[in-house]
Symmetry: C2
Subunit: 523 residues, 2 copies
């Protein structure tokens, strides 16, 4: 495949060359970029002027002051009352001064450290991390050729991909919902798979007290931490959605409260589809999204000042003809950029996504996903959910799409390396230009020899051969090449090391909680 041996045009002369190649190959056969937490050095694209930022802020504050948000969670209502907010039934109204005072308590940057401390990620401060697709109920791959319900085996394969690709920094929600495992114990089996198949930052669903506490306990065990160590700084995170418009349900707020009380991070992501559960105007949809997110974040900062919180965005639009959600549209890009401005205005790290409406891993899938991923870059997003594997507006997870997305995500991370745009004398290369003159070429000269190994992004999936060579190799389109790489990765995959005692403790925990009946499934 793309990794087949090819004769390098320039002879390798540096000793470092072979060593660097060997290092790359340690993670299986693909030419991957190394693990690192990249920083985004670009100035964000800002479609709003200062007045526009103020207008959206004011819109959100007026929603919180004059309309209020429904909090169905009784504990949350009591806490808002205690904080002096106006609580009427489940409706909570809060003054902008209080909201801003609370939100200002949140850190602009924090780390999350998983069981392998080398996989620590930083959220905020210009850092940018990427995670796998989360929560599709269905699965599609080219071998099956149709949409099927998710399974634990498929889910585990996605964890192998998540672990394998260095460009994927964290493991979000279930990459596909394993509907072959009973909901009462699903979280136990899947988190066991996640914590043993990957050593990257893990997510927990806020779907009832038992589930979130079980997952926190399993993550604590996975790191060999005491409760005190676990709670001292974030080791994992949860992500919640509001029930737009203007509502937070019981389990999600409960899960966040439990998370912050044990020192873990929370991401609050309203799902505001403009024209459906949010105003048809982007500014209106973003204002609503900001109001919903800040109401929860303010609560969490009241409960635990300095709690690690991320402002999430999931503002897109519907197709006004059919009502179908659309993703990776021009409106999606602008909403993401606008939300980025608001996140900086409030001093919060931000989450966005890599998304598309396409049903299969084809051209449309890639232009929609490219649009969404680049808008994440342009908006100054810190945490990119669903960055690999998403199809059909989040209803399908696809391993081919996962592999294809990783090529794009790798290119984005390469794009962010400062070395690419360096302008020192060696890079300006005046002497090289003089040496080659007007009749030579640059392949063989020392200036090239010294730099070619790391000069350019090296793909693992893109086929850069000419048509004839590509045709002779079977004329294989991208999705099919991605399928083959998916299979190669599964063959190459090695589980990250875990101490036997820890694994055994995890197994015991799962067995015990299963014996206890797992979590209730009545909500």
């Amino acid at each position: 495949m793309t990794d087949a041996p090819r004769e390098p045009a320039p002879k390798r002369r540096r000793a470092g060359g072979r060593a660097a190649t060997a290092a790359k190959r340690r993670t299986g056969g693909l030419n991957q970029i190394p693990w690192r937490v990249p920083r985004n050095l670009d100035r964000p694209i800002e479609p709003l002027d200062a007045e526009g930022v103020q207008a959206i802020h004011d819109g959100a504050m007026r929603i919180l002051e004059d309309i209020g948000i429904e909090f169905l969670n009784p504990e949350a209502l009591a806490l808002f009352k205690e904080a002096g907010c106006t609580v009427a039934g489940t409706n909570v109204r809060m003054g902008r001064d209080w909201v801003q005072e609370m939100v200002a308590r949140a850190p602009a940057q924090f780390d999350i450290t998983p069981r392998n401390p080398e996989r620590r990620i930083t959220l905020g401060g210009g850092h940018m991390v990427f995670g796998n697709v989360s929560s599709p109920p269905n699965y599609f791959d080219l071998e099956i050729g149709k949409k099927v319900s998710g399974s634990r085996a498929q889910c585990a394969n996605f964890y192998r991909l998540t672990q394998y690709f260095n460009c994927i920094h964290f493991s979000g929600g279930y990459p596909v919902e394993p509907v072959d495992v009973h909901p009462s114990v699903r979280h136990l089996d899947v988190i066991f798979d996640k914590l043993t198949l990957t050593d990257k930052v893990a997510h927990a669903y806020s779907l009832g007290p038992e589930r979130i506490e079980d997952v926190m306990e399993m993550v604590r065990i996975s790191g060999g931490w005491t409760e005190e160590e676990f709670a001292a700084s974030p080791k994992m995170f949860t992500n919640i959605n509001s029930t737009s418009p203007l509502k937070h349900d019981i389990p999600m707020i409960d899960g966040c409260l439990r998370s912050i009380r044990r020192g873990q991070a929370v991401v609050v992501t309203p799902f505001t589809l403009a024209g459906a559960m949010a105003p048809v105007t982007l500014s209106g949809a973003v204002s609503l999204s900001i109001a919903e997110a800040l109401s929860a974040i303010a609560l969490f900062q009241h409960v635990r000042p300095g709690a690690a919180c991320v402002l999430g965005t999931f503002t897109s639009n519907v197709d006004m003809k059919s009502g179908a959600p659309a993703f990776g549209t021009p409106e999606y890009m602008r909403a993401t950029q606008m939300t980025g401005q608001m996140a900086r205005f409030y001093g919060l790290p931000m989450r966005a996504s890599g998304v598309c409406a396409a049903n299969v891993p084809d051209g449309q899938a890639m232009w929609e996903t490219s649009n969404s991923l680049w808008s994440a870059v342009q908006s100054g997003t810190n945490m990119v959910y669903h960055a690999a594997g998403w199809l059909e507006g989040g209803l399908i997870a696809s391993p081919e799409k996962f592999v294809m997305d990783c090529e794009v995500v790798q290119m984005i991370q390469r794009y962010m390396e400062p070395a690419v745009v360096a302008t020192g004398p060696g890079e300006i290369a005046f002497d090289a230009v003089r040496e080659v003159g007007s009749s030579g070429h640059y392949f063989g000269i020392q200036h090239t020899q010294d730099r070619y190994e790391d000069a350019f992004y090296e793909p693992f999936l893109s086929d850069w051969r000419n048509f004839e060579a590509w045709e002779e190799a079977g004329a294989i389109w991208t999705a099919e090449r991605a399928h083959r790489i998916f299979k190669e990765v599964l063959a190459d995959y090695e589980a990250p090391p875990m101490e036997a005692a820890i694994r055994s403790e995890l197994e015991d925990f799962v067995a015990r909680r299963k014996a206890e009946g797992g979590a209730p499934t009545d909500f």
Copy 2:
């Protein structure tokens, strides 16, 4: 297909609704955006700081002062001598003060007006226009299923696409080289097709005095202009490439000199592949590109102060394993952004491209093309060459790719509309949020009714249906859908009106020049 009637979710209530839809449908069956010359309101992405810009400027100036550029054209050598430059054989060295003085004469913005004045385009001043793929020798479509040599019939079909899609503003070089027409008369037949099948701004190749003069004459005839009217302001343009490194050949410079003397616009685009004909470092490749481009532009400004010139970029990188050119890479994106900074530094309009290395219109094609097109947006590019239809590094033109690219180009143009990010009270939508509250939805309310028709980008190719509906409709992947739309467009296409007398004058001109033997083919 995507244009099949679907029941709109909200009832249409506005009289304007039906009229707007009718207006859209006037250009065939597709829901196109209207013709307009968009303005890019985003602040460009600038990877270089002021020092970096200065370093590249200094690198380029040192090349011009100390190394010099080869000009094979004797007239150019004489002109450089006359201007006081140091000419030794074909090597020309020029001082930075002179170069900057000359370049400063070029307008930062100018218009090109084709035979239909409503198709006038503006280059510079934040405007952004898009053109068809230019110059591939080969053709691929899904019906033929393989790579074949280009023909006049295929070329004419691309002109029909160019005319049909409002998002395509100008007609660049031959969209595919019609190798079934003898080179001596090819320009006559193809320009006749171009000028009758489209009414958009036309390009002429600088491939010998006869060709460029023939094309200028045909464009002059097409507009019914006297020579004085024709020469008074740009009606067309030529685009030249330097022979990197450090060389300008005879016919390209000749074509530009003839163009500017008759008041027409020129685009100078060095083709600097980093690692092959340019330094392996991006800063080096961009410095070389700038030096090559400015040397020609300085000459043109010496000959005709104020001549309409565009700074082109075509800096990409090779695959250092195989030597194959790569496009739409992270390095390509950064080089384009860096060149954008230099174009603004010199006060010149800029040209970039929509390009990919992929051989077929699949996922790779679309992420590479998306990367290149978005880098054009981010760099502040004014003129996007090859924006629709390009495959295999420019060796293949594909109608499916043309249609797919038009969806992306339309989205880019929608993205640039200021209305999308408006933040007036109507857009903040506080009253709508209050009206819907926490339990309704936004589909039916007046705020939505008043805006939904134009609220969101409406695709003509993307399929936003769910998997089941898409499967029931045949489970058609993007490239195949694009093929069907290509056929629909050909069926819907109507030639723009042309006065019979003008058409007849064009026919006579072609007949006369053919009788005279056309252009020599010995270079």
